[in-house]
């Protein structure tokens, strides 16, 4: 049996999809346009603007920096986030309720404020190199996401499983790696992806913390747009989009997308 859909519902749904996907289609069209300005519908067809990304050294450098910062920042966030989420859940009864709120506070503070305060205190105040400050900023930015996602995964973990392993003679540290971690694996992967994507996309924190010779891709995109209006930007955007889609396909194939929706 099929339910008959109201025609208005079909129209509305179509409009929502146009609204969501429209800009992406325009960007894709513009990236292959054989014009020196952003044009949609594309006029002609060329891959010149994709080549152009690699010819502009600032793009090459910032792509590398963005990946370095995102990977290292996410790694640090997991190193902090996994033990923090574990402790918050394992000892939930003994710990005060506000403690878990404290760990996610950076999400509530405007990113601009985090960027500015790090610039003042760490970069200028302590005279720490630009790259290090940028890394600290991104770690700070994504750690709360890591804690949130891993906590959600640990909340449904039954800690008597851990106790069962210990009672059978497994050392608590070994138990953490052989019993606890494999059971929250999907949470850790989801945390990694969420943190990585948040870091790669970040503008607000990076804006304050990039400096001479060191910048991230989103900041470079902004800088480029201010000077040129050519389709290179559209090509970069398409590349970022493809990267995200590849990551999502890998996640979907290995874990199912619900790990992120959770």
């Amino acid at each position: 049996m099929t339910t008959r859909l109201h025609p208005l519902l079909i129209v509305l749904t179509a409009l929502v999809y146009v609204f969501l996907l429209g800009p992406l289609i325009i960007i894709f069209g513009a990236s292959v346009s054989d014009t020196t300005f952003l044009a949609f519908p594309p006029q002609g067809l060329t891959l010149h603007w994709f080549e152009n990304i690699w010819e502009i050294s600032a793009f090459r450098r910032t792509i590398v920096t963005s990946f370095q910062v995102a990977l290292l920042g996410t790694a640090f966030a997991l190193l902090i986030g996994i033990p923090a989420a574990y402790a918050l859940n394992r000892h939930r009864i003994q710990l005060p309720a506000w403690l878990s709120t404290l760990f996610v506070l950076p999400i509530l503070v405007p990113e601009i404020v985090i960027g500015f305060s790090l610039l003042r205190s760490v970069n200028v105040g302590l005279d720490v190199p630009v790259f290090t400050t940028l890394l600290i900023g991104h770690t700070l930015l994504v750690t709360p996401y890591a804690i949130r996602v891993i906590s959600a995964s640990l909340a449904s973990f039954d800690f008597s499983i851990e106790e069962a392993a210990i009672s059978l003679g497994s050392h608590p540290v070994k138990t953490f790696f052989t019993i606890v971690l494999p059971n929250v694996r999907s949470g850790v992967v989801a945390a990694f992806i969420l943190a990585f994507i948040t870091s790669i996309n970040d503008v607000s924190v990076s804006l304050f913390l990039t400096g001479p010779g060191i910048s991230t891709l989103p900041i470079q995109i902004l800088a480029h747009v201010e000077q040129f209006f050519d389709p290179t930007i559209a090509s970069v955007s398409v590349l970022l989009m493809v990267l995200t889609i590849i990551v999502m396909i890998i996640v979907e194939r290995t874990l199912g997308l619900t790990v992120i929706a959770k």
């Binding site: 003994q94 499983i161 106790e163 009672s167 059978l168 003679g169």
Partner: protein
Amino acid sequence: MTLPLSLDSVTAHYGKVKVLEDLSIHVGAGELVSLLGASGCGKTTTLRLVAGFLQPTSGTIRLGDKDLTRLPAHGRDIGLVFQNYALFPHLSVQQNVGFGLKQRNLPSAEQDRRALQMLERVGLAHLAQRLPAELSGGQKQRVALARALVIEPPLLMFDEPLSNLDAKLRVDMRVEIRELQRANGTTALYVTHDQEEAFSISDRVAIMNEGRIMQLDTPETLYQRPANSFVARFVGFENLIPLTVRDRSGDVVRAEAKGGAMLTLSQQRLGAIPDGFVLATRPDGLIVSDDPTAEGLPATLGLRTYLGRAYQYRCETGTGHLVANGSLATPFKPATQVTLTPNPDQCAILAVE
């Protein structure tokens, strides 16, 4: 291998709250002792102290000659069975059972052999390669039991192992647990809130309340000779009647209840009776009669309920509310004046508290 367990003057706190006070229990080698009580009575705390998941504030815990008190949980060598099974979800049934053997660094062929042998004993060898999620509740608990037994622990502990199973399976599983425990001769500590379960499989039962043991005895003694009013109420002595001895002649004692009614009791049947005491009876232990010559407590019948094997009456007497069961053959109407006579086989003598 089997060893006796003894807890000696163990006191424990959660933060500032005292949850166990001066608790001492001795479980003999091969004996099964249950800790029975309502939630919050300290029974699970006791088990967690022995397992090493909690530290006592004072007191010692010994298993045979070994002092467990300061030993970390993973070095205690105790088989634990949990209420929610606590199987490792990412490991197969066989890997679950073999986990403890792996920690003991046995050769892997030996691990497999013993895990499978144990699974055979609980009748699950054919499911060795399944994941826990594919098993029923009863099968899961069998795997948990096998996992705890395969390491041949000197002590087995059960934390409400049957509470998540349905009624029929509970009865089957408790018999199975008892048989396996007997066959291995393993000392066992069994935590439950189910009186029938505790009484049916234990050598001795400790009835607990507010972090103390109220009485530790065989099920028969607890059921017939409760030591105090808490245990008496727990095992179904619903009526507690305070009495004062007025006259003694040989073994026969005449005692007066509040309101002036006199009862004649035999020390031969009930044991020594002090001058002031409490007579505890089950509802079945009060005989309801409308014979005006019967000796006993005069009562006015209140609400009558049907129990299937008897009628139960709420009764108003000079000593307060009492509950009595009357035969189905002679139902009484509410507000009837009757006499309640204690049946000594269903009575116990308690000290005044």
